[in-house]
Symmetry: C2
Subunit: 366 residues, 2 copies
């Protein structure tokens, strides 16, 4: 039974800084998303607003509006905005205080920890609610150094990397895992960021709050847990940022900790500058592929598109162009699904064919 | 006036895990090193033991031996061992407690923070001494996100990277800065690890305790501080680990935060496996150079050797071999100094010639 939750994403739903909310509208295993708070889109259906298909997640103008329309107070209030700014301002804090006052527990994916904030803890005590800082790193004694055990994993490990932050890596990875499961394949998803964890990923760690010494070890450990507990047929690891990104090194830690056997690269063809860094141009696909392959000693086996600022025609033309230019299957999983990716994985890892569900297996083996 | 200090390095002086002590014996701007504690080498001169030349730093068998011979209690006790293990054991803790009991303030470069340890803080209170966790990261509110300001730096920035941990990157960088200063060039050193900070580096940060989100920003900030405050002619940044290292991603953060214009690569030709990871082979120089140049978009301009397990002949032969094979000046700065590196820097950055001290400048300009 999923816990009911409201997701706060004022002014940001569908935008880059609203990526936590966008992700939860699309996929949520842990929480039942009762509604989104974004007064600029109040009254709309969040699924329809994001992807053109209604999914019953209503957008509300505020906490009161949501509670009044739902007829009850959801158990959780998820702060669904991920800004670059280090700290929330007074107005943003006041909104969370109000949610607590209404009796909602707070789920916070920011690197600013509310449980270390006196005012937040005082309010939580006052209103009898809990605060969950989901991005807070485990205590040092519970963290893992890199051990090299990842070398023992004989299951294909795929990393979905990208050319920038907030570009759809997690969305592609989650969709790919679902598509593989539909084929009867036991595919595991390893989250490396707050949204994947909020969506209910069984294994993973918010890597960007870990220090360099533990980041690789924690990625390795999450994969080892999945590998040892669930014996998956394939492991799909969510990437972070970009390996070439000037500001973030999470991708390095993911590549080193996961030692992927193959890489899928997510790219927004129309993005000119890095998100949050308007002075720094995006890398080219060529240079990112070269960098990834040199750094990881693995191959990029497919390209997935983020269609921001693109018409349907442009997406289709870009797919044709990239497939010709890079000789790699190219798709937009939100528009066209994951068939090309699954097919490519069967080609690169033919042992996966044997893992397909028994319903199809006899036919395949004829 | 430097503060007096004893450096604890039991059984590890001259070894990899004793690298903090090794560094402080060789160079110390902040502390007057009164002695080293390592009972396995008691009675020897640390400079002679390490590099064949006496420097008056005596090795003692223990705290009592040191105090008795010195005739006073040094102000500071520096814990000079850097193990991979996450926490000190009881015996190691007891030694530090004893140093406190004797009245010494504790300087701790471990990622295990004594100031967050109840027993340590209780003892410190009891004995009236201070504890300094020099690797403890600044508070989140004082940390810097990457800003891109590094792009404004028009001074050459050099990174000394390596093919492994504990390979001599800092030693080469510190020696290079000293050699440049001898030429009258205002060279700045940016520390990125505990030893550089303990040695008294004016700018720097212990990068391995910083989270991915701040590591690049703090490297950038340290360089910007140096650049803006001291207007150096050249900035030399200490590397950490190795860009190819399976476990650590500090190098990624240093390359991204520093955006070096050129790279010097430190390498131990006789090391077969990564230090602390005996199952993982060392990278080849070829692959590391390719990786560094692809990742940084800068060039490796020189190779510096760590002569561990090498005879003098072997070092000389390797220098000849590498200079032929890689067409890069190659040296061992502990044996042969930094002349080749300085010469190469003048070639790559001819503007440095103008910064040479006025004593030589007129002759140069003839």
């Amino acid at each position: 039974m999923k816990a009911n939750a409201l997701v706060y994403s004022e002014n940001e739903l569908g935008k880059i800084d609203g990526k936590v909310a966008n992700g939860l509208v699309r996929y949520s295993e842990k929480y039942q998303i009762d509604g989104i708070i974004d007064s600029t889109k109040a009254g709309l259906d969040a699924g329809e607003y994001l992807d053109g298909t209604k999914n019953g997640v209503q957008i509300y103008s505020g906490v009161d509006d949501a509670i009044e329309n739902l007829g009850y107070v959801p158990e959780y209030f998820i702060y669904g905005i991920a800004p670059l700014a280090s700290f929330l301002d007074k107005k943003q804090r006041a909104i969370i205080f109000y949610a607590m006052k209404k009796g909602m527990n707070i789920v916070n994916g920011l690197p600013e920890f509310f449980t270390e904030d006196e005012e937040f803890m005082k309010k939580a005590g006052e209103y009898g609610v809990q605060i969950y800082d989901i991005r807070k790193a485990p205590q040092r004694k519970d963290l893992h150094n890199f051990s090299g055990r990842i070398n023992e994993v004989d299951t294909p490990v795929i990393a979905v990397l990208g050319t920038d932050c907030a570009v759809g890596k997690r969305t592609t990875a989650v969709n790919l895992v679902a598509a593989l499961k539909q084929q009867g394949i036991n595919a595991a998803f390893i989250a490396t960021g707050q949204t994947g964890l909020l969506q209910g990923s069984k294994y993973g760690i918010a890597i960007d709050v870990l220090s360099s010494g533990f980041a690789t070890g924690e990625v390795e450990n999450a994969i080892m847990q999945s590998y040892e507990n669930d014996h998956p047929d394939i492991i799909v690891v969510e990437g972070q940022g970009a390996l070439s990104h000037p500001a973030f090194t999470s991708s390095s830690a993911i590549v080193r900790g996961a030692m992927p056997d193959a890489i899928i690269l997510q790219h927004p063809p129309r993005r000119i500058k890095h998100c949050d860094y308007p002075d720094i141009p995006m890398p080219t696909l060529e240079s990112e592929i070269e960098l990834i392959e040199t750094f990881s000693k693995s191959n990029v086996i497919a390209i997935t598109l983020n269609h921001e600022d693109m018409t349907d025609d442009e997406v289709e033309n870009t797919i044709v162009e990239y497939e010709y230019k890079y000789e790699l299957p190219t798709t937009d999983v939100l528009k066209y699904g994951c068939a090309k990716l699954v097919e490519k994985l069967f080609e690169v890892f033919p042992e996966l064919l044997k893992s397909r569900s028994v319903i199809w297996q006899p036919q395949e083996l004829k």
